[in-house]
Amino acid sequence: MYDVAVIGAGVVGAMIARELAAYKLNICILEKEHDVAMGATKANSAIVHAGFDAKEGSLKAKLNVKGSKMMENVTHELGVKYRRNGSLVVGFNEEDRVTLETLLERGKTNGVEGLEIIERDRLTVLEPNIADGVKCALYAPTGAIVCPYELTVAAIGNAMDNGAKLKCSFPVTTITAHEDFYEISSGNDTVKARFIVNAAGVYSDAVARMIGDDTFTVHPRRGEYLVLDKECGNTVSHTIFMTPSKMGKGILVSPTVDNNLLLGPTAVDTVDKDDKSTTPEFFTSIFDIAAKTVKNIPRNKTITSFCGLRAVGDTGDFIITSPREHFINAAGIESPGLSASPAIAEYVRELLGSDGLKLEKKEDHVRTRRPMHAFREANIDEKNRMIKENPAYGRIVCRCEGVTEGEILDAIRTNPRATDLDGVKRRTRAQMGRCQGGFCSPYIIELLSRELDIPYENVTKFGGESNVALGKTKEDK
């Protein structure tokens, strides 16, 4: 019997699990995919928003501003890359300026610090590549960037290091309410828990319905992105947004913490909660749209593209509710969900507390975690000491990102363990560079096969039927 079952191992579920793992609680995290961070968490803008966007007084506003302030410390504890690069919402005309002034006022009301409107002369100093048509911008120095899947892996890992259990490939299909516990089933497996936190992303409405809560719906909103080579990471240093208008929020141009350049997202409402395909229209339009705000973006340096599905609730705000005893929804967590996630976790913990969950701090709780990039960030003497202890750190497997065998083995051996190629990729960046695994993936499969003690052809890209090799050569037919 678990005290709490957290459904969903995205960034929200991860931060909640980590928050709860500080208390004397028996926790399990249930994830339908083969790994953590598989939904909107691995496919978003990777921005820690300052907090001027959300409507005054909303949960979004409150938790965004608070989460944004907490994020630097959280990432520090978890050893996750974070850069306070500041953001700029750029305007092209007087109409935009009026909107920016509204955002400025809203930001001040929300408690965002350091906001100001700056003119083109200062803007071109901050960002030499800003497009010629840009007149002014709302400057938010507290805007930041973070790697969302690295954060999620680290938070789940930290929760696990403090005793939480992770069950992947556990799609919740039914929840049965008993007198003082719930029985949660995936069809193949069942767990019992006294409390449930529903952080199931685009499926959180379906999970809520399993206990009879039909007060909200969540629909997916598609967002397509392009990732450019590290050579382009210096095109801009701030995150560049367009001024939101009737035409939508526009797209952003931003460096990532790993120095790639990110362009996107589109925003198209849909019904299919699984369709993460990119569209031809995206590829033909994205560079022209990005060029409106930033010039000199090379068109031939794309290394990959992807589509994420934001979980959009029907209330216009985050849906953090308690529809019945011992059950908390953390649903409809669209943008700024990543930014708000540390604050959402605290808020959910408080709700659980007032709902009767006994919260007693663990004496031996550890808040920190060894950074996944510990080797990479070390100086040469430290690296050589580590190579001497473990020669695998001396062997580069992924030449594009400079990832060593030692780091890949760490990813396979530490909580939450990578069990497929994409899991290794998200934890180490191996296969994430310009050759996209062309050279190193056959060897990484070998490492996974050896470490997990499974045949080579059973290694998958991301679980399920996504096997990479389909049998041996010269096999009897």
Partner: protein, 411 residues
């Protein structure tokens, strides 16, 4: 201080090492990232290597072993599993391996021979899902030939580069079914002999002016949509066709791998992606040479060996102080000829200029101009982007030239 450090122990690096040794250099070190010498040739188990160089048909591993054997017999030192992390313009090399950790070497001369990589799927902007089952052709080749595993059973190949053609045959021989090879351009980028021996001999259709427009399948690839493209290479919607398959191989171009070259501040050619070099294959940085596919992509390894020999001998002369640079003549091209190697002449001695054309042309003249003056002309029945061409220029042609321009004239 080491006299000569060679980055890469593939055909280019080994050939350069042997040539430098034979010219008298003894203090040589080859740094190879893989666990054996030979480079990509180790996975190229098909034949057709060595026709020019040895007058016989060898497999890739056999060709590589001819050089590996020499390297071993001559006692030229090499370090395996060693990845070079940085090279400074002052020729200070930082590398890492499991035995030595991270170490630095100062070199008198360096030869860059790191080879090339394949253009990855992400660079192609194909719409659709991101399932397993999409491989660059070389990755599939490694899985089949080195690891003994099948990337899939029902295959579509995008791009008709040589590795794609070779893999069409290889997958067929291993029992897979190759439905089609789609090529965006109206001509193939591969060698004519490979089209014949790898596609035609196995009745595999080559669909010119076709591309893959969409990827289907959530976990493993289930199919691709292909379409014919118009003269601007845009897909024509009415020609869309769905092909069920579990595997898509990509052979859409090779990119010289010059991340380390950039660290040296050497000038790069915008067209080849490799360093701009003189006839000695010396880059714009004194004492740093480049050869093989890191310099420009070759179709035949035989020419890689030739080029590497030039680099090896020239590095030896550089180390001995026997270099005699008296000229500085840039070579430019007209666009129909995309690029030449070398891009600059610095010595008054006969040389071979290698070049590639931008399109398929018939009955043309390769003209070389010194300003307005035609100084060299050679007729060609057919030239194509997939086949590297070469002309020999005698020194009297350019001894007093300010610059040379290579122009392709159509009849």
């Amino acid at each position: 201080m080491t006299d000569l450090v060679i980055i890469g122990g593939g055909p280019a690096g080994m050939s350069a090492a042997v040539a430098a040794y034979e010219r008298g250099v003894r203090d040589i070190l080859i740094l190879e990232r893989d666990d054996n010498l030979g480079g990509i040739l180790r996975q190229c188990i098909h034949n057709g290597f060595g026709l020019h160089k040895f007058g016989e048909e060898l497999t890739g591993p056999e060709y590589a072993y001819r050089y590996e054997k020499k390297v071993r017999e001559l006692g030229i030192p090499f370090k395996l599993n060693t990845m070079v992390l940085d090279i400074t313009p002052e020729k200070r090399i930082t590398a890492t391996n499991p035995e030595d950790g991270i170490f630095t070497i100062e070199a008198k001369a360096i030869i860059l021979a790191m080879g090339c990589r394949e253009r990855a799927k992400g660079a192609l902007n194909i719409a659709g899902t991101r399932p397993a089952g999409i491989f660059s052709a070389g990755t599939a080749q490694k899985l089949v030939n080195m690891k003994g595993y099948m990337p899939g059973k029902n295959v579509v190949i995008l791009g008709s580069g040589d590795i794609g053609l070779i893999m069409a045959r290889r997958m067929t021989l291993e029992g897979a079914k190759v439905a089609a090879v789609c090529e965006l351009m109206p001509y193939s980028g591969g060698l004519a002999r490979n089209i014949e021996q790898c596609l035609n001999d196995f009745n595999i259709p080559l669909k010119l002016s076709h591309t893959v427009t969409q990827i289907h399948g959530k976990e493993r690839l289930t199919g691709v949509t292909i379409a014919k493209v118009d003269e601007n290479r845009r897909p024509i919607a009415e020609t869309r066709e769905y092909i069920p398959c579990d595997t898509l191989l990509l052979s859409c171009g090779l990119i010289p791998e010059n991340e380390l070259t950039k660290c040296t501040d050497a000038t790069l050619s915008q067209i080849t992606g490799g360093a701009a070099v003189d006839q000695n294959r010396e880059t714009s940085v004194d004492g740093i040479f480049a050869c093989g596919n890191v310099l420009h992509v070759h179709d035949l390894v035989d020419y890689v060996s030739d080029e590497a020999e030039i680099a090896g001998k020239s590095a030896a002369d550089y180390i001995d102080g026997k270099r005699n640079k008296t000229l500085n003549i840039p070579i430019t091209t007209d666009g129909k000829i995309r690029y030449t190697v070398p891009q600059r002449i610095t010595e008054a001695k006969e040389l071979t200029v290698y070049f590639r054309v931008a399109d398929v042309y018939r009955d043309v003249k390769i003209n070389v101009y010194d300003g307005e003056k035609l100084v060299f002309s050679k007729k060609k029945q057919k030239v194509a982007p997939g086949e590297m061409e070469a002309v020999k220029l005698k020194s009297e042609i350019f001894a007093y030239a300010k610059s040379l321009k290579f122009v392709l004239e159509e009849a």
